[in-house]
């Protein structure tokens, strides 16, 4: 299963480190990544592959949310399918 991680908040050091640390820890592979500043907000999107993940989706979601809270960013993870379904005919 592929998922999209969205990180939004004020730019600071260690964002990629904090997110990728969790992904590495749970054996989730990063397939694509981009980042931009939108309306003064740092926005990072990551496409990840959860095929070999060693925890449940819910646990990964909770770990990312907690990491987001600790660095003052909002971090979400959603299955990729929802974006495809809504934006492609």
């Amino acid at each position: 299963m592929k998922a999209v991680i969205t990180v939004i908040g004020k730019d600071r050091t260690g964002i990629i480190y904090n997110v990728s640390k969790i992904l590495y820890h749970h054996n989730v592979n990063i397939e694509d990544l981009n980042q931009t500043i939108m309306q003064d907000n740092f926005t990072m999107l990551m496409l990840v592959n959860c095929a070999k993940m060693d925890c449940t989706f819910e646990e990964l979601k909770a770990a990312l949310r907690a990491a987001g809270e600790s660095i003052g960013m909002s971090i979400r993870i959603q299955r990729e399918d929802i974006f495809d379904a809504m934006h492609k005919i």
């Binding site: 926005t43 979400r76 959603q78 399918d81 974006f83 379904a85």
Partner: protein, 453 residues
């Protein structure tokens, strides 16, 4: 997939800011095989079947909601119209069945269970009469059970005897639930042209033409449509229609994805997607606000019916393009108490009962969640249902009445239900009598355009 910032962020904004959600995932369950010669056995079979079939409904819906990052607000069950499966049940037996439905709903942790229903558009069976008689007590004694009666259809005409009964049933329900603002009436709806696969309450039931079990999904998102229309301010109506259509497409796709996933995990076939703009009392989640953003100073002013017709039609078109199995009611709901913009419009006098009735000729359902004085005569309630049924039957659409003659309340009072049901200002209706018309009873013949064979 290449990461397309715009699309991803748009989806997130729809969910986080504009309240896009999966309003309901409703499992339809046939109870036809629960019929027995002994109503007690029937009640037990019903409880057993529902709790077995839907045992993982809530858990699965929540898991899927988390994975896709879109909230699934309500988890519900709809069953075969109970009047059909009573066997030789009398009024008390039906109440026992209602209690079994309620117990099953509590056990499953679902929000509501629909299908305490009867289909009497052409006439009553003996069971139907005992069943309808049981509705007020059933609604007063249960927490999760929702009830509906279909009183007319384009093919059969309008059963005026049933409509006469319902005036009494609704008043009695209001009285029996008087301690909770006559809340029982919010769980009852009178239909014309009821659909068999509607996932929304209070009118959901599992029609007899439906399979053994089915998953139907209802998506909402008035806030998303409003937000999209803010970007085409001042442009022509064509662009408004196009924008609504495109937005409806995206919303429907999100629902279909959830529906298909629910179906896969519960091993129950996917039935239909119902794309209904269903407001909640939250500001920014209102159908009235969509109409206002189109350029109306207040919902209810002249032009409101045209704006609503355009909205309803564009929503359907977007939904149909997005999903092959669109069904239910699909369109725009206009429940007064559940829509912050409607409540405001009623309080400031812009939206009257009569204008609401006109709006129901182009919305997807009907007069919904409207509070009137507690002392309104039964025959007036019946006449309101008859008017609404006539709009549905003649125009070949579903119409419904969910009206609350709130016990002890007068014009100027506000009936507060709390939660998703919101609060309803008591509305003025005609003080002139419809008594003689209703007392005639009988059946309004089917309209000429029903003869299509």
């Amino acid at each position: 997939m290449p990461l397309i910032n715009k699309d991803i962020l748009e989806t997130i904004k729809m969910i986080e800011r504009d309240n896009l959600d999966i309003r309901t995932t409703t499992m339809g369950i046939s109870l036809l095989d629960c019929v027995s010669h002994d109503p007690k056995v029937t009640a037990q079979r019903i409880y057993d079947k529902i709790t077995k079939k839907a045992h993982n409904l809530v858990k699965t819906a929540e898991e899927i909601g988390k994975e896709f990052g879109i909230p699934v607000i309500n988890k519900r069950v709809a069953v075969t119209p109970i009047s059909l499966i009573g066997g030789k049940a009398d009024k008390d037996d039906y109440i026992e069945i209602a209690a079994a439905l309620d117990r099953a709903a509590l056990e499953l942790g679902i929000d509501f269970i629909g299908g305490y229903s009867a289909l009497v558009h052409k006439g009553f069976t003996n069971n139907d009469i005992a069943f309808i008689d049981s509705i007020p007590q059933a609604l007063a004694e249960t927490e999760k059970v929702c009830s509906s009666v279909n009183v007319g259809s384009t093919k059969a005409g309008i059963n005026m005897d049933a409509i006469k009964m319902l005036g009494y049933i609704i008043k009695e329900t209001a009285y029996l639930t008087r301690e909770s603002e006559s809340l029982g009436c919010a769980k009852f709806v009178a239909f014309a042209n009821a659909v068999e696969d509607n996932p929304f309450m209070a009118g959901a039931f599992h029609g007899v033409g439906e399979p053994e079990a089915v998953i139907n999904v209802g998506v909402s998102g008035p806030g998303v449509v409003k937000s999209a229309l803010e970007k085409v301010k001042g442009r022509s109506i064509d662009e408004v229609a196009e924008t609504i259509k495109k937005t409806a497409f995206k919303i429907t796709r999100a629902g279909m994805l959830v529906g298909n996933e629910m179906s896969k995990r519960t091993n129950i076939p996917f039935g239909i997607m119902d794309l209904s703009l269903a407001p909640t009392p939250k500001v920014g989640d209102s159908v009235a606000e969509i109409l206002e953003i189109m350029g109306l100073e207040k919902c209810g002013t002249h032009g409101t019916t045209a704006a609503l017709a355009l909205l309803n039609d564009a929503v359907k078109k977007g939904g149909i393009m997005a999903c092959s199995h669109v069904g239910g009611l699909s369109g725009a709901f206009i429940p007064v108490s559940e829509d912050a913009g409607m409540i405001d419009a009623v309080i400031c006098g812009a939206l009257t009962f009569d204008k609401l009735e006109a709006m129901t000729s182009v919305c997807s359902v009907g007069l919904d969640m409207i509070a009137v004085c507690g002392d309104v005569p039964e025959s007036t309630i019946s006449a309101i249902i008859a008017d609404e049924a006539a709009i549905g039957v003649i125009n070949n659409k579903t119409t419904a009445v969910r009206i609350i003659p709130a016990y002890g309340k007068k014009i100027g009072d506000v009936v507060n239900f709390g939660g998703l049901l919101g609060k309803a200002p008591v509305m003025a209706i005609s003080e002139y009598s419809s008594e003689e018309f209703i007392m005639r009873g009988g059946r309004i013949p089917a309209p000429v355009h029903s003869f299509k064979n």
